[in-house]
């Protein structure tokens, strides 16, 4: 008679994410599930809408990463109309995008994932949140973080109309340009961003890397999966958030595929399970072999660790130095360690800040050549970006008037969904024995999925210090046998 342990973030009440651990008769883990009870049907109600509204409409999928959807949609429209934005427009889009990567990653580093390391996985639960982080790094730094994010987001508002649901991008370019005096503001804030990124790396070094216990945890087998990795690279195989070709490396780190996003249907497919509304992406040529890692399973990962695995190098100098330190410390590529995600995210913050500064210093962004005229729609348009949480693909088909007839959206967390499910399953199996829930189970399981910065309902990463979890052990009659929670 199986016992069921439900581990669910309190946010699951609104249908966000939920873990269920099934015990066998011996009280060991039979299987752990991460289910996502959410479905809003964007592809369905996109039908009949004019293609050019997609950058605004699909931004509403996620209020935390609206810029990712906004930009992927615009690139799909460029493809739909067969146009290339003028150089200034492309740079303005990239400027907005790097600012977004910077502030969004900071949110995870300091407020969501960070508390596990900055405050520590064994710290009192009441402190394992942003308040604890501020206590640890000092109120001055806490205030600086809040001001940094606000300044960047205010400039994003200036450029994109709104930061929560931008209106900047259109097929063939952008709606608004940048005046010279505005550009100076961008440069000033970008310089502060680069400083803040350096400070973040220093903090990570001091707090995490100099602590052998933390390093051991990062290297632990509980948080390791040898899978394929997917991400965008530029023509020199450098990490690029805005554009490039999709590169796939195998679990040994060798290039397996490299293709333009227009061919994504040849390489990626979605698997359906009856216990979750999320579909699991996998590599078509390897095939779906269940929730397993290794060369023979088509499961792959995206997001920071994956991006750093698929690329040969970073695109900016200071990020490159940080990347080399990361790879060398972790014993070379590919890095299969889920918790290394936090470190990889810091490396990416540096690249985003450096790119932000480079683009702000480029006088061409003040050009008034912002749009390439569009002609008739060509029927199909496909676009891709690297969202903070991984590769994001928008695919639209339209009629001759440019009205959507079919849409397909492959979102970042969907790429990671199978690996996240495995991570949760493995952590549970290694931590739960004889029906006993280890004291640290809840946070250890939390850490297995939090590292991915998963975007189940997009909202789960707005501000929580720690995701409040409750584990309920039930017998087959549904009676609660034991209840453990990580909050009072």
């Amino acid at each position: 008679m199986p016992e069921v342990i439900e581990v669910h973030p309190i946010t699951r009440l609104e249908g966000h994410g939920k873990i269920e651990i099934i015990l066998n008769d011996a009280g060991d883990v039979d299987r752990a599930y991460l289910s996502v009870p959410e479905l809003r049907g964007f592809e369905i109600f996109a039908k009949g809408r004019p293609a050019e509204i997609m950058p605004q409409l699909t931004a509403r999928i996620c209020g935390v990463c609206p810029t990712a959807h906004h930009t992927a949609a615009a690139k799909a429209l460029d493809d739909l109309y067969g146009v290339t934005p003028p150089p200034a427009a492309r740079k303005i889009r990239e400027l907005l995008y790097n600012m977004f990567m910077f502030e969004d990653h900071l949110l995870h580093i300091y407020i969501l994932g960070g508390p596990d390391f900055i405050v520590g996985p064994d710290a009192p639960k009441a402190l394992r949140n942003v308040v604890g982080v501020i206590q640890k790094v000092g109120i001055e730094i806490g205030t600086r973080l809040i001001a940094m994010r606000r300044q960047v987001r205010e400039l994003m508002t200036l450029l994109a109309g709104k930061v929560i649901h931008p209106v900047l991008n259109l097929p063939g370019g952008v709606a608004r340009g940048i005046h010279e005096e505005e550009r100076e503001q961008f440069v000033t804030v970008a310089q502060q961003a680069v400083d803040f990124a350096r400070f973040t790396l220093d903090t990570f070094r001091t707090v995490v890397l100099k602590n052998s216990e933390y390093l051991e945890l990062i290297l632990s087998d509980i948080y390791r999966h040898d899978t394929y990795y997917v991400g965008l690279v530029d023509d020199q195989n450098k990490v690029n958030f805005y554009d490039g070709r999709i590169r796939v490396v195998n679990p040994e780190g060798r290039e397996f595929l490299k293709f333009p996003v227009q061919e994504y249907q040849d390489h990626l497919a979605e698997h359906v399970e009856p216990w979750t509304y999320v579909k699991f992406l996998f590599l078509k040529q390897v095939g779906w072999k269940g929730f397993a890692d290794g060369m023979d399973s088509g499961i792959y990962a995206v997001a920071p660790v994956a991006r750093l695995n698929v690329a040969d190098s970073m695109a900016t100098p200071e990020a490159q130095a940080a990347y080399e330190e990361y790879v060398n410390t972790l014993g070379g590529k590919p890095v299969h360690l889920t918790l290394a995600m936090h470190w990889a995210r810091v490396v990416e913050v540096i690249q985003a800040a450096e790119a932000f500064l480079q683009l702000a210093q480029d006088e061409e962004i003040c050009s008034d050549r912002l749009r390439t005229p569009i002609g008739e729609p060509r029927g199909v348009g496909i676009g891709v970006v690297e969202a903070p949480r991984g590769t994001l693909i928008h695919h639209y088909e339209t009629d001759e008037k440019g009205l959507i007839t079919r849409a397909n959206l492959l979102v970042a967390t969907q790429n990671n969904a199978a690996r996240i499910a495995m991570s949760v399953d493995k952590a549970a199996r290694m931590l739960v024995h004889n029906g006993k829930i280890g004291e640290d189970l809840l946070n250890k399981v939390e850490m297995a999925f939090r590292a991915y910065d998963p975007c189940f309902a997009c909202a789960t990463h707005a501000l929580p210090g720690s995701v409040p979890l409750e584990a309920v052990v039930r017998n087959a009659a549904g009676e609660v046998v034991e209840r453990v929670r990580n909050f009072e």
Binding site: P2, E6, I10, L13, E14, G15, E20, R31, P37, R40, G41, F42, E43, I44, G48, R49, I53, L57, R60, C62, G63, V64, P66, L77, K125, N129, A147, R149, R150, R153, G161, K162, I164, P166, V167, L168, L170, P171, Y264, E270, V272, E273, P274, W275, T276, Y277, H395, K401, G402, R406, N408, L410, A457, A459, A462, P464, G465, S466, P468, N486
Partner: protein, 345 residues
């Protein structure tokens, strides 16, 4: 004593949560006056903690997102009981929001496409996620209804903060008004009282009385939007004249037309109908075929244009849902008759 405040989300994108975070330093200052007793996204308090409060103990609950699931309905009813004031926060809670466009589709369409017919789906027989199917794996999956409702269709609402998402200045002003000694009358939409044009930097260049146009243009079809001239004068379907002010014309400062996320002015029941009738009044023609052509070319998606944020709360939605009910009842009756005929034979 500090006033107790709760934040809660229903079916939302998380943008309204970010809107609160975007208060930045102001939020830290506000904590001198308010005590947050429930905020699932940010704090560890649970439903049980809310249940333990006395009725009316919470000063104000700010609820965002449309209501899509039964458990969301239970929580908002609980918050209503515990709160002196309930505020619908953001477009979805105020009017149903963008995800409310799903109300025009059948639930089955969503499932067939997502799990069987989508371009990248590797179909696994007839398998699709269902609460019953999930049960076999000991996983409890909630039922998906596929109909979004604004908050005031579920509980009584005292105030509204409009916007998708509400910008920081609007949220800040609303908080200050609610916390003041003389709060505004119940039912108030806590934003501007006039149309967006009143605060639009292009208002000086607005069309003269009797202005008519022969063509609406889609923003993608013009390569340059003149940032110094009213967008309506340029043929762009800007909904500013029928939309409530308060955002300081953010989208227009981004050189894009207003799409109406702040909803209607006081006294207007159906935003989409007001928007439609406003733009229709600008059309310079009495010829039906010509009017049709102007609409087809410039406004090819009336539903999405006029009801982008407000469909679930609209009269049109009521008509649609009633029609569907009737059709269902009719179908059932037909089936019963058919079954009886077969039986009699």
């Amino acid at each position: 004593m500090k006033k107790k405040v709760a934040f809660y989300w229903c079916a939302s994108c998380g943008g309204c949560e970010e809107a609160v975070v975007d208060l930045a330093e102001f939020l830290l200052d506000a904590l001198e006056q308010i005590e947050i007793v429930f905020w699932p996204v940010a704090m560890d308090f649970k439903i049980e903690d809310v249940e333990q409060l006395t009725d009316g103990e919470i000063f104000a609950s700010f609820i965002n997102g449309a209501v899509l699931l039964s458990d969301q309905e239970e929580v908002v009813r609980l918050l209503r009981r515990k709160s002196q004031v309930v505020v619908a926060f953001g477009s979805c809670s105020h009017q149903g929001g963008v995800p409310g466009l799903i109300n025009t589709h059948d639930r089955q369409d969503v499932f067939d496409y997502y799990y069987h017919n989508g371009p990248t789906v590797q179909r696994n027989g007839n398998e699709m996620p269902t609460p019953t199917g999930a049960k076999a794996f000991h996983v409890a999956l909630p039922e998906y209804y596929g109909k979004a409702r604004p908050l005031n269709q579920v509980i009584e609402v005292d105030y509204y903060i409009p916007g998708c998402a509400p910008p920081p200045n609007v949220v800040k002003d609303a908080l200050l008004q609610l916390l003041s000694d003389s709060p505004p009358p119940r039912g108030t939409v806590l934003a501007g009282a006039h149309s967006l044009c009143s605060e639009c930097p292009l208002n000086e260049t607005k069309p003269p009385e009797g202005f008519k146009i022969k063509q609406f243009v889609r923003p993608s079809q013009v390569t340059h939007i003149d940032p110094d001239t009213c967008l309506l004068m340029q043929g762009l379907p800007c909904l500013g004249p029928v939309t409530r002010s308060g955002c300081n014309a953010l989208c227009i400062k981004g050189h894009m037309p207003c799409t109406g996320c702040f909803g209607p002015l006081d006294g207007v029941r159906d935003f989409g109908a007001a928007a439609l009738s406003f733009l229709a009044s600008l059309i310079d023609s009495n010829d039906e075929a010509e009017i049709q052509r102007i609409i087809d070319e410039g406004l090819p998606d009336p539903l999405g244009t006029f009801y982008m944020y407000s469909f679930p709360g609209s009269l049109l939605n009521e008509v649609l849902q009633k029609g569907r009910q009737k059709a269902r009842a009719w179908r059932e009756r037909e089936e019963t008759v058919e079954a009886q005929t077969t039986e009699n034979q």
